[in-house]
């Protein structure tokens, strides 16, 4: 490879220059993407040493361990939370993206900017705002009590609903962008044609709009479902120790229990789940890139 | 060989197994305006790209001023192109676009400035130096593209359907202007179009292309009045093509017949034998229609008026022959009393009919 690079400098031929241009990406990808991922796979089949470190012996134990009731329960709980979050995000985000696509060009641009600003803001800071709101005797409690809706503080912080709100809050923009970019391409005259042909506005929506924006919706689901199993810090700061995600489990195994092989096995499973979802998405919607990813 | 500024020698080119150019040869003289005329997909743009060097032929040679440039990169050829979509650099001003090739040659600033303003004057866009391409109309972009291509004083200027994107009126205006420009500059133009009117109006010579080959190369008059093949006759003169068998060969004319009737055609010293199959082209404006009842003995083809329409001051009558074939007759003015359903005899003057698709021609 190095020899070839030298040749290129001498000849300055276009193929060679192109080769030199892609070389950094190839090297980087091999060293820091493919390498680590292969190591993860290898690691997941190795044994944990008694005290510290790893023994180079092949085992399936790490994968079997996932089915231990304690861990299995975490997986199921995390899955449930992810489903709840994703459904709620769909319900809130789909209309948002859809309505946004119907705005005129000037307002579309403004809306994009308005959503982008919080999206680019540190999610920790934004979550911190929710801590202030949810805290016992915090803003929400005071407001609800002042309006005589509740008698005493709800103490929402460190509860399951708080985590769900946090998740929705952080992941909602992904759904909005996905749906929006799909709905933006929608030819509205199709909807008008359907109405013209006798469809009610509801029928027109379900038979035309929803169908044609399905790729965006699905890509939004992929983009929100997967992270909502891994975003351990949301569960951490809004859920206390009450909500444990697969992400928390992996982090714990890595940082506290120092059981790296088990953490690797968990990651492999999560990774497979991710790939399956993306695969299904591609099969259904026939597109290569996720809508609205960039 | 030195007489020709540009020569193509048996050029062949395939894309993905499909032969696009099939042994193309062409010689162009200095200062000539030559048009490659053909429908889309006939290989004319590929020919142009091979001349420009943007495409390499599979076999065959390209000579510029007698020098073999087949394997030269486009930037090493003294040939410039006006692209179909103009391809103006959107991030450069008009001045930046026009001066690009001069800047690459590292001419000094004063010279560049002078050349740019001359080029702009040439295309009548004085004072547009600082505009961006996005601020120009289609016609103005067209002019900038031409100015950019000629500022370099190329030996040959290639134009790929440069007027295709303009509306009819602007197109007519640009036709005259391009012709004037070409005469003024004395540069050889190789012009591509699928519009036969454009080709006939502007060219010194026309090369009619079909399926990667030249069907006929000649002056507009030759191509229009003496098409060699039925394809050329149809494409350039939108002529009617009639097939038949010769049954009376005279010194100046040939009489032929088929199941619809008989016709006569000028012989033009062609070698025709009795009983030979012939193909005859008659342009629609030369077709005469006479009501069948008035003179039943007239020699010609018998048909029925099928359709009558007016387009651009031209009356067009479609006549259906017995076997379902159709002929088109047209003339200026609206003077025909014929109505659809009328039986007519189709005739023409022998000198207006041309024998085409002759063997060995």
């Amino acid at each position: 490879m190095i020899k070839r690079a030298f040749e290129c400098f001498r000849q300055l031929n276009i193929n060679c220059v192109a080769f030199l241009a892609v070389l950094p990406l190839f090297v980087f990808t091999f060293m820091f993407v493919i390498g680590p991922l292969i190591y993860m796979l290898v690691l997941s089949f190795l044994q944990r040493a008694e005290v510290w470190g790893i023994v180079n012996k092949f085992t399936f134990k790490n994968y079997m361990d996932i089915f231990e009731p304690v861990y299995l329960k975490t997986f199921i709980e995390s899955f449930k939370l992810a489903i709840t979050t994703t459904i709620l995000i769909m319900i809130i985000g789909y209309p948002f993206g859809y309505f946004m696509a119907k705005l005129d060009a000037k307002w579309k641009k403004r809306m994009m900017l308005l959503i982008f600003i919080p999206f680019w803001t540190s999610s920790l800071i934004r979550l911190y705002g929710w801590i202030i709101i949810f805290r016992a005797n915090g803003i929400l409690d005071k407001l609800l009590m002042a309006l005589n809706i509740t008698e005493e503080p709800l103490k929402l912080l460190y509860t399951y609903p708080a985590v769900v709100v946090g998740m929705i809050y952080v992941l909602l923009p992904f759904m909005i962008f996905s749906v929006y970019s799909s709905a933006e391409k929608l030819d509205w005259s199709l909807v008008e044609a359907a109405r013209d042909l006798g469809a009610s506005s509801m029928q027109a929506f379900f038979t035309i709009s929803l169908k044609l924006t399905l790729p965006g919706l699905l890509s939004g689901v992929v983009l929100t479902f997967i992270p909502s199993m891994g975003l351990f810090f949301i569960a951490d700061i809004l859920g206390g120790n009450k909500v444990v995600l697969v992400g928390n489990l992996i982090q714990e195994q890595l940082m506290k229990a120092h059981n790296w092989p088990f953490a690797a096995a968990l990651s492999v499973v999560l990774m497979i789940l991710t790939s399956v979802m993306i695969y299904i998405y591609r099969r259904i919607s026939n597109v290569k890139e996720l809508e609205g990813l960039v | 060989m030195e007489d020709f500024i540009l020569q193509l020698d048996r050029i062949e080119k395939s894309f993905g197994g499909v032969k696009v150019l099939n042994g193309l040869s062409l010689s162009v003289k200095q200062g000539e305006f030559i048009t490659l005329l053909g429908p889309s997909g006939c290989g004319k743009t590929t020919t142009l790209r091979i001349i420009a060097g943007l495409e390499k032929p599979d076999s065959g040679k390209v000579y510029l001023e007698g020098k073999d440039v087949t394997n030269e990169e486009p930037n090493r050829r003294n040939v410039n192109t006006v692209f179909q979509n103009y391809a103006l650099f959107p991030h450069m001003t008009v001045e930046g676009n026009i001066s690009y090739s001069l800047r690459l040659k590292r001419l000094d600033r004063a010279k560049i400035k002078k050349a740019v303003s001359e080029a702009l004057e040439l295309v009548q866009l004085e004072g547009y130096e600082k505009r961006m391409p996005s601020e120009l109309s289609g016609g103005q972009r067209q002019r900038v593209a031409i100015a950019r291509a000629v500022v370099n004083e190329p030996k040959v200027l290639l134009l790929d359907e440069p007027l295709g994107a303009l509306d009819l009126q602007l197109r007519r205006q640009m036709q005259t202007e391009l012709k004037r420009l070409q005469k003024h500059l004395g540069i050889t133009f190789v012009y591509i179009t699928h519009d036969q009117e454009e080709a006939l109006n502007m060219s010194d010579r026309i090369a009619v292309m079909r399926d990667g080959k030249f069907e006929q190369i000649g002056t507009p008059q030759e191509v229009y009045d003496y098409p060699k093949t039925s394809y050329v006759a149809r494409f350039v003169g939108s002529a009617n093509i009639i097939y038949g068998t010769a049954y009376d060969v005279n010194e100046h004319t040939v009489v032929f017949k088929n199941e619809d009737g008989i016709g006569i055609v000028a012989r033009n010293r062609a070698n025709i034998a009795y009983g030979q199959k012939v193909t005859v082209a008659v342009r629609s404006e030369h077709i005469r229609l006479t009501p069948a009842a008035s003179d039943s003995n007239a020699e010609g083809f018998v048909g029925v008026v099928k359709e009558k329409s007016f387009a651009g001051g031209l009356l067009q009558i479609i006549v259906a022959l017995a076997d379902g074939k159709e002929l088109v007759a047209s003339r200026h003015g609206i003077d025909s009393t014929l109505v659809p359903g009328d039986k007519v005899i189709v005739t023409w003057a022998p000198e207006n009919a041309i024998l085409v698709d002759l063997e060995g021609a």
């Binding site: 193929n15 241009a21 990406l25 190591y39 600003i117 | 690459l104």
Partner: protein, 268 residues
């Protein structure tokens, strides 16, 4: 019909308000002189002053900025070169590498953090700024790569041909035509990378060293242990910085837009 659009607009406004609510609360409370966040103790700059005195906080800010700029610049170089070279290069398996290189933004962050942690300790890289930069660069490259690639696809091929026809070599074509036209994409990719890097907690927690704190890590540990209102002040400052980056990217977008309009027009 009119009523429907009004309802839609109310909905959009309501959700947007909810999005901004926590941010506004953080900003408001950064000026709260009371130490307990649920009590309003009057307006003051107290926490900003204390923030300035906090050396460790300052270090974290510097670290974060170094990290974000290094990785976004590296990503811009690697990603742009690759996006430009990829269509012209003839290498076996380039499609596979292209796909794999975008994995870091496809797979959950937690997995990326975990694989980097184990891999870096395998190859014995010392944890700290180096490992942070590598990890962040890995998820910044795809942003630049994809944006530049999309831009390249949108550029009319005949522009490069026209330049060649006018006498430019391949190298000149790149610098005179291609580069200026993809520059807005490179810059937005860099800005996006910068923002993503500045915001990242998950991956950073795994690959940082004992002595290297980035701002998000610092905030995260504070949020988990005990919050001092200094965090409010810091957050407000970061919000301001973010807003600046956002506006900058909009401005860059505008700079590139008149080319884009022209190109789109030509595309028809």
């Amino acid at each position: 019909m009119k009523n429907n659009t009004r309802l839609a607009n109310i909905y959009l406004g309501f959700i947007l308000a909810l999005m901004y609510l926590p941010i506004i609360i953080v900003i408001v409370y950064s000026f709260n002189s009371s130490k307990i966040s649920s009590v309003w103790g009057g307006f003051s700059f107290k926490w900003y002053k204390e923030l300035l005195r906090d050396k460790s906080m300052f270090d974290a800010v510097v670290n974060s900025l170094i990290l974000a700029s290094t990785s976004s610049i590296l990503a811009a170089i690697i990603g742009t070169l690759a996006a430009v070279g990829m269509p012209k290069v003839n290498l076996p398996g380039k499609g596979v590498v292209e796909y794999l290189s975008t994995l870091p933004i496809m797979i959950p962050e937690i997995i990326l953090g975990m694989v980097f942690l184990t891999y870096f300790s395998l190859i014995r890289l010392p944890f700290g700024m180096l490992t942070l930069v590598i990890a962040h660069t890995s998820f910044c490259i795809p942003y630049v790569y994809m944006l530049v690639k999309a831009r390249l696809v949108g550029i009319d091929k005949s522009l490069a041909e026209a330049a060649k026809d006018l006498g430019a070599s391949e190298i000149r074509v790149f610098f005179d035509i291609t580069l200026p036209l993809i520059l807005p994409a490179i810059l937005s990719g860099m800005l996006l990378s910068f923002a993503m890097s500045l915001d990242d907690v998950v991956i950073s927690i795994f690959v940082t060293g004992v002595n290297t704190n980035t701002l998000p890590i610092k905030i995260y540990t504070q949020l988990r242990t005990g919050v001092t209102p200094k965090i409010n002040a810091l957050s407000t400052l970061m919000l301001g910085a973010n807003l600046l980056i956002c506006l900058l990217s909009v401005w860059i977008g505008k700079q590139g837009s008149h080319h884009k309009e022209y190109l789109e027009m030509e595309g028809n």
